[in-house]
Amino acid sequence: MAKVVTFLVMFAFWVVMSGMFDAFHLSFGVVSCLLIAHFSHSLLLYGDPKSWGRGFFGILFYLPWLFWEILISNLQVTYIVLHPRMLDLIDPQLVRFKTSLKRPISKVTLAQSITLTPGTVTVDIEEDELLVYALTASGAQSLAGSAMERRIAAALEGGK
């Protein structure tokens, strides 16, 4: 099952990337996609088949909210950068905080989202502890139990 889905996804990607529809290029695509699907099908999709579609749509519904957050956080960073007395505004600090997310993919999503939003960069993940570098004190406090973590849990982990 995983192999078939991987093959279909890879082949659609091949057709879009090459843009050629003659037999020569398509047969090359079929051969290379078969090889990839055979050897590395466990990289793209793993676990039971029911969770694949839900993960995909969960990410799809999560993205618009994330984009809005990114826009807001960029405006905050813009304000700090363009402020004449910038050094008064920033108060950098390292923060550790625990997350309740279980699956690796949702931890990675959380880390990437944190890097992209208000004044914070994820430095390290160990088991369920994230090391976060925050630009301002308010950014550091807003991390724990945030809306972002709840939304990721709803999108990728719900019903488990």
């Binding site: 879009v16 960029n74 960073v77 910038m86 880390a111 890097t115 992209l116 430095v123 630009l135």
Partner: protein
């Protein structure tokens, strides 16, 4: 015509964020704060500019231009995923090497 206006707005917004990111790298006091400016502003700006170009490219609709626009959107998605990862890798390296962070207590008399 509407597509042109949308793409002009998107590209100008992207250019603005590129400028902010560059100013951020020049003005911030230490490495860790520079990473903030570079990682955030640049990924958003690149996505905005790329989506703007993709929208403009749809002006004369045909199979070829649609494929090219999809490819540009793939680049945007790739930048969106890879930019935080690169930021994370550099910051992790800096922390392990032992680059000193700038803190408020140390620098205010």
């Amino acid at each position: 015509m509407i597509l042109n206006i949308v793409s002009i707005v998107l590209i100008c917004a992207g250019l603005f964020f590129f400028a902010v990111g560059t100013l951020g790298i020049l003005r911030f006091p230490d490495f860790y704060t520079r990473v903030q400016a570079a990682g955030k502003c640049d990924s958003l700006a690149a996505v905005l500019v790329l989506v703007g170009i993709a929208v403009y490219n749809l002006g004369d609709l045909s199979l070829a231009t649609v494929l090219v626009s999809i490819k540009i959107l793939f680049i945007a998605a790739f930048v969106f995923i890879s930019s935080p990862t690169a930021t994370h890798a550099i910051t992790d390296a800096a922390l392990l090497i032992g680059v000193k962070p700038w803190t408020k207590e140390k620098n205010t008399p």
